[in-house]
């Protein structure tokens, strides 16, 4: 922890010193800094904080996966791999999609292994965007889509989603946002930060709009395995969607491998070829150690993964009940590991609530507006934290609300 904390602090100090930024490009300057950073800064200075602010599992990567990584290092597997990633890994990914969703992706040309899903998203945007192209992004959503679209020369067009609609993106709303410059639509369900999922029927309605307007779809399904009360529908499994979609997925959430940075994209051959072009000139290939871990995860990781999912499900029920009991109205998230309660009843903004909660009761949550304007009035509470800590955090939140 000390290493990374120090790092973060150095970055912050650097900015505070007010050193000249004359060499920094206008485009990068135009990107607002992530709203999460401010909380980093605050949390770093405090002890005894219980964090519900973390976007990663609290489980350590299962031992058999770590063991596979270690063994690969012992064998001296430290070289580059194919740009696309190790063939065995792509074959296993392909098999997964056939078994889970009945979709055929050719491991030779339709799957690209990347350094985390973040890289895959960046590649997808860079591969499809012409200057000025509009990309529809339903919000609240993961913080990197809009900046990545912007950096690729595109124009992100946010579409708000609402609690009344369980934070699902509606086909009508998407239709209304389409202009002649619209190139693609981003879907990210199960959703970070809301925990929302899309029903198959919702996706089918969207698919119709996509076809009518000849759009591409980038569907980030990294939380797909973390779906409760039902199963995940992969967007490209809908008829006619494979040709026009890029599915993004990875190992971070399902196999607790965030720091190993391993993700992938699956799509039609021309789209994957375009992404590979960018990938080979920037990242070259995903880290081989992580790829070896990925192979082990797909071969033998199902049991551990299901165990983790069952545990998340229990915590999900605990936190949703707890938040609702506190009077923070919380719709039931059906995926990922976040609850997204409303704090509108307190009259505070998300930011005020989160700052005061941190200062007064030492519980870290992320203000909802960080994930898009329509997230104002909400908090993201991650339940990827032990049951004991969840219960303690809920107790502290109760004390905080009572003190208002």
């Amino acid at each position: 922890m000390s290493y990374s904390r120090k790092n973060v602090r150095n970055v912050l100090l650097y900015h505070r010193d007010g050193m000249s930024d004359k060499f920094v490009s206008t485009r990068v300057k135009e990107i607002p800094p992530s709203g999460i950073r401010k909380f980093f800064d605050l949390v770093l200075e405090m002890d005894g904080v219980i964090s519900l602010g973390v976007g990663e599992p609290d489980f350590v990567t299962p031992w058999h996966i770590r063991e596979a990584c270690i063994y690969s290092l012992e064998k001296g597997m430290t070289s580059y791999t194919s740009n696309l990633g190790l063939l065995e890994l792509r074959e296993l990914i392909s098999k997964c999609y056939r078994n889970d969703y009945d979709i055929d992706y050719d491991p030779g040309s339709e799957i690209l292994v990347t350094t985390g899903v973040s890289e895959a998203a960046d590649l997808a945007f860079r591969a499809i965007i012409n200057p000025g192209d509009e990309i529809i992004v339903p919000e609240p959503c993961y913080v990197s889509y809009k900046p990545s679209v912007f950096l690729a020369g595109g124009v992100p067009v946010p579409v708000p989603t609402y609690c009344e609609n369980e934070f699902r993106a509606g086909a009508d709303q998407i239709k209304e946002s389409i202009t002649e410059r619209t190139k693609a639509l981003v879907l990210s369900y199960p959703n970070n930060p809301t925990g929302a999922v899309m029903r198959k029927s919702d996706l089918e309605e969207i698919a119709d709009v996509v076809v009518e307007n000849d759009l591409a779809v980038i569907s980030d399904e990294v939380y797909g395995k973390l779906t409760y009360d039902g199963s995940h529908t992969c967007f490209s499994s809908l008829s006619g969607m494979k040709e026009r979609s890029i599915i993004l997925n990875g190992f971070s959430k399902s196999h607790a491998m965030t720091g190993l940075r391993l993700g992938y994209a699956a799509g039609s051959e021309p789209l994957i070829a375009a992404m590979t072009k960018v990938h080979q000139y920037s990242m070259l290939c995903a880290p081989v150690t992580a790829q070896m871990g990925g192979i082990e995860a797909l071969k033998n990781g199902d049991g551990e993964m299901k165990k983790m999912v069952r545990e998340y499900d229990r915590r999900r029920r605990l936190i949703v009940r707890g938040l609702n009991k506190l009077g923070l109205e919380c719709f039931e998230p059906k995926g990922a590991f976040y609850a997204f309660p409303s704090i509108k009843s307190t009259g505070m903004t998300s930011e005020q609530f989160a700052s005061r909660l941190l200062k007064e009761q030492k519980v870290a949550v992320v203000p909802g507006d960080v994930f898009g304007g329509c997230g104002e009035g909400y908090l993201r509470c991650s339940y990827a934290t032990s049951r004991e800590e969840l219960i303690e955090a809920l107790g502290r939140m109760e004390a905080f609300i009572d003190s208002l």
Binding site: S4, V43, V54, G55, D58, D313
Partner: protein
């Protein structure tokens, strides 16, 4: 039912109210299911894993392998049950390989354990021979590691 067992396996002290929330049944139903499983012997007992050394209490453990001469008909069960009755014996298992039974024995000292084996076990009529392995250190017990646990090094806030 399996769900409840999974929840309490590593923490039997959890509040039935929480079990109810996590499994989506009522508190009363959760409590009665647990009672029922206790009655049926599915839940054998609730137990505490103690690091006695840390508590300042010295115990000596030994694994004893035993070769048994079988009497006709009674098989291994009779001799195993007989050995199991000694409170010094913590576990008795029938094993494959060179030996037949494997015991874990706990005593206050090495002498204590050695004499127990010599006087009470080796002297049994059916016991043909014993091999005693003293335990020097326990790293993992009942699925619980006894050395320092892995701690997550996560940043407190991340996207």
């Amino acid at each position: 039912m399996k769900e409840i067992l999974e929840i309490i396996e590593n923490n039997p002290r959890i509040d039935p109210r929480e079990i109810a929330t996590m499994t989506g049944i009522t508190e009363a139903a959760a409590a009665s299911k647990i009672k029922e499983m206790e009655k049926k012997g599915i839940i054998r007992k609730y137990k505490t894993v103690i690091d006695w050394e840390k508590a300042g209490e010295e115990f000596v453990y030994a694994i004893i392998e035993i070769k048994v001469v079988l009497r006709s008909r009674t098989g291994y069960d009779a001799i195993a049950e007989r050995i199991a009755k000694f409170p010094e014996v913590r576990s008795v298992r029938l094993i494959s390989g060179d030996h037949d039974l494997s015991l874990t024995v706990r005593g206050k000292s090495m002498k204590d354990v050695a004499f127990f084996v010599a006087e009470k076990i080796a002297t049994l009529e059916q016991v043909q021979g014993t091999v005693t392995h003293f335990v020097l250190r326990t790293y993992k017990e009942d699925g619980d590691v006894l050395f320092e646990k892995e701690r997550s090094e996560r940043l407190a806030v991340s996207p």
